[in-house]
Symmetry: C2
Subunit: 408 residues, 2 copies
């Protein structure tokens, strides 16, 4: 049935695409599929009992407020908790630098909404987070890309690119989605220098920062910016918009993320949010605050880290045991994902239907490239399946890949 | 402190305005202010105990699923509940016609996102819902307005307006925000005829439909459209996008609304939602479903209706007791708001700071007019304060208004 609505879509809808990953969810959520596809945290680690207690406490002590409308900016104690947490790292912000968003995805959408004019040039890594591309495509930007290697965004060749009339840069420094790599301190510092020199601001997307498996936490780019502009530090630098989320340390189903930026930017984002959806769930914000400020959270994060590290190790061991020669992978120091590069003759998009037949799922690498990219890559999630399933899933993949190589 | 970000706002931000009402919340939320300003449901009626039970049940039976990511479309049982509820009225939809949104505000934003090109002509009532104007302004439409009187949108003179290259119409038929009026069945039928004749589709915004104080429910426009296109009814008509919410019958803090439309439109809105925020809170959707499908909900709605009717009556009685001659008002058959028209010499925007001094708040009428409108009107909410406070608040307003008249 055709309706008058279908003749009336706005021009921007031609630039909107369905998310490969979100569509994938529908195929791969059958219980017998071993899925490395989603960005799912391990559900068996969700703090369900603590959530029960938090819900009860919130409803008993603040039921009327927690179910009522609240300000668009978000629940103040939650904003203050986030400010305090970032300030322990030396950021120098107040709650007025913070807007609570529906996951960090909404923060990315608001970046597009308040900054991107049709034709604006945005510098991204290549590959980069698919959700950012999807949020921004509707606003019609041109993506200018820079390389990212094992040590994060490559800064050696960045100066030539940053000169090319760039509106802003977008970087995922910790346990990059999809690559799993981490940007070194040296490169972060160089990035801040270049950003200041050419007056190009940047978005730091850090959803997994707390999930570090080994080594030291590296200073956030936003903090380096604060230090660069204030020799004593302790004052927000203002060149970096920072976004993160409770999705990976509490639960993604709550949809509570946040964005940190100059107060003037937050004001504009508040206007955007008023039009977009008024505010985030008051109840989920109260509950998230209850859990975030609880004493058990650090221990809970330790548990997540221990389990995800085991799973990463299981996946890498399985690669070593099963994958054919010519297959390479990244070894993430944290987070949820790694990146697999197959022999060049293998096309991961062509292999996908076969994988689904074999009851194993991944995300082909191609959609993560803003413009063009190789076709022999894939993103694998290691947080959602236990080591045994991971081993079996990698084995199934390896059989399929070996067959594809032989058939060429 | 000025940052590079502030030089980089997109052109559309010049069309974005702060919501008068959302900003107002910050001023009027002090406990000693009697506020007729917000659209707050009565917090003392929130089903807090039932919410506790629902949270416990959801977390005990479905904890892992309720805290995990889910599909963008929304939680299927909740979509099915909404479809069933609408189908009892004769709409003829399936869950594929439904997207769960963060309140109905997000549905309005998605309408803007997928339909409005810069310069498109949108037909609205005048005055109309401020949140729709705010959601759509960023997309650059031209608002073409039609009159609304005590019997809703005036259809007698609509034909001349509908011919003027209108992209879509936007109507609030039940207990109109801000007017409080209800559109008659006759006018609804005429509207559907005109919409079909000129091929102009329409948005039916119905957040308060279930809160009817007296008389009979009038058939939704979407259902009249289904009947118009199918002589037997029972099949979705496709010309009407319908939106509603649980905010006024459960709790606005949950941010669970929905939009109903042709499957092709819902598909596009799902794309928009993928980019905007991936999905609504899984947990809030599970909890909302638990409460919506419970046996106590009809009784709970009866309680809300009884209390709001008392409050409406108290407000109207106070008008009769206190307001000076030349003041008129609407008498809503349901919902949360009514509309007050002061003597022409009174400017409700000028009076506002004085009202705040007297610890009483309202929303001046001017912002509800898409283009121009009279300055002597105000929207008053009667759901949030008890009858005693309502009487006292109206008394304070009346003193102020009488003084303003005398001073002229």
């Amino acid at each position: 049935m055709s309706t008058p609505w279908e003749l009336r879509f706005a021009n921007r809808t031609q630039r909107m695409k369905s998310s490969f990953i979100r569509e994938l969810l529908k195929v791969t959520n059958q219980p017998d599929v071993i899925s490395f596809g989603g960005g799912f945290p391990a559900a068996e680690l969700f703090p369900i009992e603590q959530m029960k207690e938090a819900c009860n406490k919130v409803l008993t002590e603040n039921g009327q407020k927690a179910l009522q409308y609240t300000t668009t900016e978000g629940y103040d104690p939650l904003r203050q908790w986030i400010a305090d947490d970032m300030n322990t790292k030396g950021l120098g912000i107040t709650k007025d630098n913070i807007l609570i968003t529906n996951g960090s995805q909404q923060a990315l959408d608001f970046v597009g909404r308040i900054f991107i004019n049709n034709g604006d040039r945005i510098l991204t890594e290549s590959p980069t987070y698919l959700g950012a591309l999807q949020a921004w495509n509707a606003y019609g930007p041109v993506f200018v890309t820079a390389d990212t290697d094992e040590n994060g965004l490559v800064t050696d060749t960045l100066e030539d690119i940053i000169k090319q009339n760039i509106k802003f840069m977008y970087v995922l420094p910790n346990f990059h989605n999809p690559l799993g790599v981490t940007m070194t301190l040296e490169r972060r510092k160089r990035l801040i220098e270049l950003a200041s020199q050419y007056g190009v601001p940047l978005i730091e997307d850090d959803p997994y920062g707390k999930l570090l498996f080994e080594g030291e936490h590296i200073t956030p780019i936003a903090v380096l910016d604060a230090n660069y502009h204030n020799s004593q530090g302790g004052q927000f630098g203002g060149n970096v918009i920072f976004t993160s989320t409770f999705s990976k340390i509490l639960a993604p189903g709550l949809r509570i993320g946040w964005v940190i930026g100059p107060a003037e930017v937050i004001k504009r984002m508040v206007q955007a949010k008023q039009g977009a959806d008024l505010q985030c769930s008051t109840f989920d914000q109260y509950v998230a605050y209850e859990m975030a400020s609880s004493e058990w959270l650090p221990e809970h994060i330790e548990t997540i880290i221990r389990v995800y590290k085991e799973r990463r190790d299981a996946m890498i061991q399985a690669f070593e045991d099963y994958m054919p020669e010519g297959t390479t992978w990244t070894t993430p120091r944290g987070g949820l994902f790694l990146w697999l590069r197959l022999p060049e003759s293998c096309n991961s998009l062509d292999l996908f239907p076969k994988a689904v037949e074999e009851k194993v799922a991944y995300v082909p690498g191609t959609p993560f490239y803003p413009n063009d990219g190789p076709t022999n890559t894939m993103r694998l999630n290691f947080s959602a399946a236990d080591p045994e399933k991971i081993t079996e899933g990698v084995r199934r993949l390896s059989v399929m890949i070996k067959k594809a190589i032989t058939e060429k």
